[in-house]
């Protein structure tokens, strides 16, 4: 390149720079002219903390998975996050028989998957056959939310009927959750080990996976022909955004800095201590409730140390949840007032059973025969009251929470060892009540079934009962609790079902089987120019109605 032309380029570059800066000035002006009318177009840059794992819908509960699956699949029904009512979506209407063992759904006409194949009764039947029974040859596991599934029957091209072995009142809500996203037959033909690839998940949702860089990025693009949003939505037709750029950014400070410096529009996972600095810069914090079993610790009464209800009650009353919330969290983490969150289905205010009363704790421990030793720890028959618990990484600031609890319990003479180990260590230890008399518990699902899910021995088995998930359990089982849980899952009258959920929670707290701390939110932050971000009932974002104002 000769010299003169080089200088010419420089001068041109200068003109260009001036032009660019005046354009960006215009853009700033436009931001103030935001009139609240949705704008079509633009790509949302969404920063995730972790890469997604297997996104077979029943495995999509993990939040990074849900963030993708919620955009690319639709469900039979839509659960209004505020009222928790179940409304039509892909199913125009449904009927349920008297004992909740047969469900018939009328499927909306004209819905297609992104590969062009029709979404009809046959596909829906195949989806629930797989989610309800699993597919051994392809290693596809059963969905947690579908219990007692027997078989399906395709009545005509738009009508499908499901049969259950036992009353299953939770099924209707189960059709609305992330794990029941309807996928094309080609997706169900993949083996489980291949469903970690986002492009293999073919749904009928408002967005389609256009590109994936494993472990790094998933790009979604709008489906221009999408026209089957839940009828209860004011917005219909295609999504406003042209696309979504989901980028994995593990480091908290980088996610927050990228948002506040304008490199990203929306981010997931902001710790309570970071909320203020984000909000102070004019960015919006979104704390979506997870509407399920609260962040808590559950006892394993098979361990003789915590077999006595008085010991468990003593620890419950020695726990100061208010202090946990005040010292470690923000207003977005309400103190627990029951086993499940105040905005969850089946909630009953049981705060009178969750009082902080260390004097009562001391009295209960004295009664139970645990006397204070010279080392400040209570002993009985020469054994110290020393308990252990593993930190649960997905729960917010769990290590700090447990350490604070350990300090609170130390005041009544109980030692709590807060352990951290490899994932394998945690899983195996948590199956052994001798090693871990306590474990962290939390589940998000907006149906009273969530209580059964958490405590029933054949589900999550939080208390580790005999005949449940662990072979290490010697004898502990509570038939009364299990009976109550079964009633929650089988009661067909909705009002009675809510009452049963209340009774089960009362029993759990009377027995002090667990100590709830706070209601766990999913916390996100967005730029001031991103509008219309919605969340499903347990806090996964939906970008269907999202739009980006000029800025």
């Amino acid at each position: 390149m000769s010299k003169p032309s080089f200088y010419l380029h420089l001068r041109r570059a200068g003109v260009l720079a001036a032009a660019i800066s005046s354009v960006s000035l215009l853009a700033v002006a436009a931001a103030f002219a935001d009139d609240g009318k949705p704008v079509t177009g633009g790509t949302l840059i969404y920063l995730e903390q972790q890469p997604h794992t297997n996104i077979y819908p029943p495995s999509a509960g993990f939040y990074p998975n849900g963030g993708i699956v919620n955009q690319i699949t639709d469900k039979l029904t839509y659960q209004d996050p505020k009222t928790l009512k179940i409304l039509p979506w892909l199913a125009e209407s449904w009927t349920v028989n008297a004992d909740d063992t047969q469900y018939t759904f009328k499927i909306r006409k004209g819905v297609t998957f992104s590969d062009g194949t029709p979404l009809d009764a046959n596909v829906v039947a195949k989806n629930f056959d797989t989610y309800g029974l699993g597919n051994k040859a392809l290693k596809l596991p059963v969905s947690e939310v579908i219990n007692n599934y027997d078989h399906s029957e395709v009545i005509d091209s738009q009508t499908v009927k499901f049969y259950f072995k036992k009353p299953s009142p939770g099924f209707l809500q189960g059709t609305s959750v992330i794990g029941s996203g309807i996928v094309a037959l080609s997706t169900l033909a993949h083996k489980y080990d291949d469903l970690g690839r986002a492009p293999n998940i073919i749904g009928s949702g408002p967005f389609v996976v256009s590109n994936e860089v494993l472990g790094k990025e998933v790009d979604l693009k709008v489906r221009p022909d999408y026209n089957w949003a839940p009828p209860s939505f004011t917005h219909q037709g295609r999504a406003y955004l042209d696309g979504i750029n989901i980028i994995v950014t593990p480091e908290d400070s980088v996610r927050i800095g990228s948002l506040t410096s304008g490199q990203a529009d929306f981010i997931r996972q902001i710790q309570a201590f970071d909320e203020k600095q984000v909000a102070d810069q004019g960015f919006q914090i979104y704390a979506a409730p997870t509407r399920g079993v609260n962040d808590a610790v559950a006892f394993r009464p098979d361990n003789p140390l915590v077999a006595d209800v008085k010991v468990r009650q003593a620890l419950l009353h020695a726990t100061n949840s208010q202090e946990i919330v005040d010292t470690l969290f923000s207003a977005n983490y309400p103190k627990a007032t029951a086993v499940i969150a105040a905005v969850a289905a089946g909630y009953k205010d049981l705060s009178s059973k969750l009082t902080f009363d260390p004097e009562l704790s001391k009295k209960l421990l004295d009664e139970a025969g645990w006397t204070l030793g010279s080392d400040g720890i209570r002993h009985k028959d020469g054994k110290p009251l020393e308990l252990a618990i593993h930190v649960s990484i997905p729960q917010p600031q769990n290590q700090a929470v447990l350490q604070l609890v350990a300090q609170q319990w130390a005041k009544i003479g109980v030692k709590l060892d807060v352990l951290s180990g490899s994932a394998g260590n945690v899983v195996t230890d948590n199956l052994d009540p001798e090693k871990t008399p306590l474990a962290v518990a939390e589940v998000g699902r907006a149906d009273p079934d969530v209580i059964k899910s958490e405590f029933y021995p054949l589900n999550r088995d939080a208390l580790l009962q005999k005949g449940g998930s662990s072979s290490k359990v010697e004898s502990f089982t509570d038939p009364k609790l299990n009976g109550l849980l079964e009633r929650v899952a089988a009661e067909t009258d909705p009002a009675k079902r809510i009452a049963e959920a209340g009774t089960a929670q009362e029993y759990i707290l009377d027995q002090a089987y667990e100590i709830p701390f706070f209601e766990e939110p999913q916390v996100f932050a967005g730029a001031p120019y991103t509008h219309g971000i919605k969340f499903e009932a347990v806090g996964r974002p939906s970008f269907y109605e999202t739009w980006i104002a000029a800025h």
């Binding site: 297997n54 051994k136 596991p141 080990d193 860089v213 472990g215 790094k216 750029n245 980028i247 394998g424």
Partner: protein, 314 residues
């Protein structure tokens, strides 16, 4: 030479086999396994009977020797299996991550060498004592900078405050500038340290005095005699630094959100994802073997004396 190469290849195969086997045994000895971690996770909500069925379908409870033979057989045919956690073939994950890490490591290493030699040469050519002292103080400073902190500071300053290079969607090559600096600075420190020392030592040797006496210029003495001889210990350290380079890459990838082998390894360790870890271990062993072979082959080029005493070199 051919015999030498064959012998080295034989050794390499042995090293790879040993790395594979030791990794296999260690992973088996860990409590729990990938299937347990993935499916016992309460989020999956599976019953004990369903988990048992899944375990059987993956054959995780079959006898060790059978699993070992099965895995090594698959490896030999290039089938690394599937990541249990991510639900994708390990081969795809490696194909995706390897180029990122290779680029980061190779360019990071080149940058580190550049910085080290820059420090070494400048320290020797400068006339000013204070500058010389300052340059000598740089390696201890660089080595005490934690990679993690350096990465975050670079992002905070360059990307968030000065807004020069974005971290999100920066473009393939531009996005490498900050990560490369993050990797290079801590690695450059031991290189510079050894180089400075060796240069100081060689400068005082009689042959350098002879070269000077013969009338060689400052630059000729430095580049032709001092640096050339100082390269030998530096090269040895460079070979050893590979481990540190990989460790630095893991942290750098996390901070910058680059999906490389480091990120992959971290996730695989968290999930005890055996297939992924086996592949990563074998890959790292290959890298070590290759680098050390290259280093050994480079010695005789720098020092002709090493060429003649065949066999005694290694």
């Amino acid at each position: 030479m051919l015999f030498y190469l064959l012998r080295r290849i034989g050794q390499a195969v042995l090293v790879l086999w040993a790395a594979f086997t030791i990794a296999f045994l260690l992973l088996q000895a860990l409590p729990g396994d990938a299937i347990l971690i993935k499916f016992q996770n309460p989020d999956m909500g599976l019953s004990p009977a369903q988990i048992a069925e899944i375990r059987a379908s993956y054959g995780v409870d079959s006898p060790l020797p059978i699993q070992y033979l099965h895995t090594i057989g698959n490896f030999l045919t290039g089938d690394f299996g599937y990541s249990i956690e991510a639900g994708v073939p390990v081969r795809d994950q490696i194909a995706q991550s390897l180029p990122t890490t290779l680029r980061l490591a190779v360019l990071g290493f080149l940058a580190a060498t550049f910085i080290a030699f820059g420090i070494g040469i400048a320290a020797h050519l400068t006339q000013f004592r204070w500058l010389r002292n300052l340059l000598h103080a740089l390696p201890p400073l660089f080595i005490s900078v934690p990679t993690f902190w350096l990465g975050i500071i670079l992002i905070q300053v360059v990307s968030f405050r000065l807004r020069l290079i974005p971290v999100i969607n920066p473009g393939e090559w531009r996005g490498l500038i900050l990560p490369i600096l993050t990797v290079a600075i801590p690695i450059s420190a031991p290189l510079a340290q050894i180089l400075l020392r060796a240069m100081d030592e060689i400068e005082t040797q009689p042959f350098v005095a002879v070269v000077r006496a013969k009338g060689a210029t400052r630059a000729r003495v430095l580049f032709r005699h001092v640096i050339r001889n100082a390269m030998i210990p530096t090269l040895t350290i460079a070979g050893i630094l590979l481990g540190e380079l990989l460790a630095g890459a893991v942290i750098t990838e996390t901070v910058f959100g680059l999906s490389g082998i480091g990120e992959l390894t971290q996730q695989a360790v968290n999930g005890e994802d055996t297939s992924v870890l086996e592949a990563v271990v074998v890959l790292s062993a290959v890298a070590f073997v290759l680098i050390n072979l290259l280093v050994d082959l480079a010695y005789p080029l720098l020092d002709p004396r090493l060429k003649q005493r065949k066999g005694a070199v290694t």
